[in-house]
């Protein structure tokens, strides 16, 4: 993005401060989305300044920044929406978590999807646990109990069902659940819009 050059140094500082605030808000977006966002904001400022060349430079700059609103508010919806796009396109867990956190206030569905994602993140702990404590981690059934995780077999009548298949089963559940979350996110996103 080519920065706008102002006559007054004070205007340049105010403008740069606004652009820096925008950059802070959109830093979690992809490079392309970030550049697109900044170029568009820059274009609005530039066109307004061109249209008000006869007016006081600082006054015009403050007017357009006022019309654009605080970046934290104006760009919030855009960032949240673009982050969901990035998550469903890349299937990246980091982007999925960022998208869900940014959209937590946009409905109960996002909260539920966030909790499901946290659940997905717990599964690798079970896999590591199974490697360290193979006798205690598993799918325990019997004696009126059902435990998927850590259990003390000596103090109950339950028995472990999966044995060596525990890790592949956990992996399968984890992958299926993850794909399900992404698909649900796609559906929620299209319904919301």
């Amino acid at each position: 993005m080519k920065p706008i050059q102002f006559i007054s140094g004070s205007c340049q500082r105010v403008y740069q401060d606004y652009i820096d605030r925008c950059k802070r808000i959109i830093h979690i977006l992809s490079d392309q989305d970030r550049e697109d966002c900044l170029m568009e904001i820059n274009s609005y400022v530039h066109e307004y300044m061109q249209d008000h060349q006869q007016d006081d430079e600082m006054n015009s700059l403050l007017n357009i920044l006022d019309r654009l609103g605080p970046p934290e508010t104006t760009l919030k919806e855009i960032v949240a929406s673009k982050k969901i796009d990035q998550a469903v396109k890349t299937y990246h867990i980091k982007y999925l978590l960022q998208a869900l956190i940014l959209n937590l206030r946009n409905g109960v569905t996002y909260i539920l999807l966030f909790l499901l994602t946290i659940l997905v993140l717990i599964f690798p702990v079970l896999i590591v646990g199974k490697i360290i404590w193979p006798q205690q981690i598993g799918l325990w059934i019997g004696g009126g109990s059902f435990v998927f995780g850590m259990h003390d077999p000596e103090n109950s009548a339950s028995h472990e069902l999966l044995g060596n298949y525990f890790i592949p089963v956990v992996l399968l559940i984890m992958i299926t659940l993850y794909f399900l979350i992404i698909q649900l996110l796609k559906i929620v996103k299209s319904k919301k819009s």
């Binding site: 530039h46 066109e47 609103g69 508010t73 919806e77 855009i78 819009s193």
Partner: protein
């Protein structure tokens, strides 16, 4: 008091109709963001700010109702020109029908 109620209602109505106004404006020609704001004021008499129009344009693009292209300018600061898509035209026609139905019932 009544005037204030009417003013609020008018604001809400215009806000609700904004996507329709944007699609209508873009039906006749392509616009860049700042120009679109001026166009909406001239054509429909509505005053929208950049903080309203920018997120709306992004939303309409996500719905595939608009397309855009960056056009380089001599200033070195390009303009983002928006155009209504084929899907956008279909939705606009449906919006027009809906509005006509509403107005016919009044």
């Amino acid at each position: 008091m009544k005037n204030e109620f009417l003013k609020n209602w008018d604001t809400q109505l215009k806000k609700g109709l904004l996507p329709f106004y944007v699609l209508s404006a873009l039906e006749s020609k392509e616009y860049y963001g700042y120009e679109l704001i001026q166009g909406l004021k001239a054509e429909f008499g509505i005053d929208v700010t950049e903080s309203t129009i920018y997120p709306l344009l992004i939303r309409l693009m996500k719905e595939d109702l608009l397309t855009y292209k960056w056009v380089e300018q001599s200033s070195g600061i390009p303009r983002k020109y928006y155009t209504i898509s084929e899907d956008g035209k279909i939705i606009l026609d449906a919006m027009k029908t809906d509005l006509k139905n509403v107005l016919n019932k009044i």
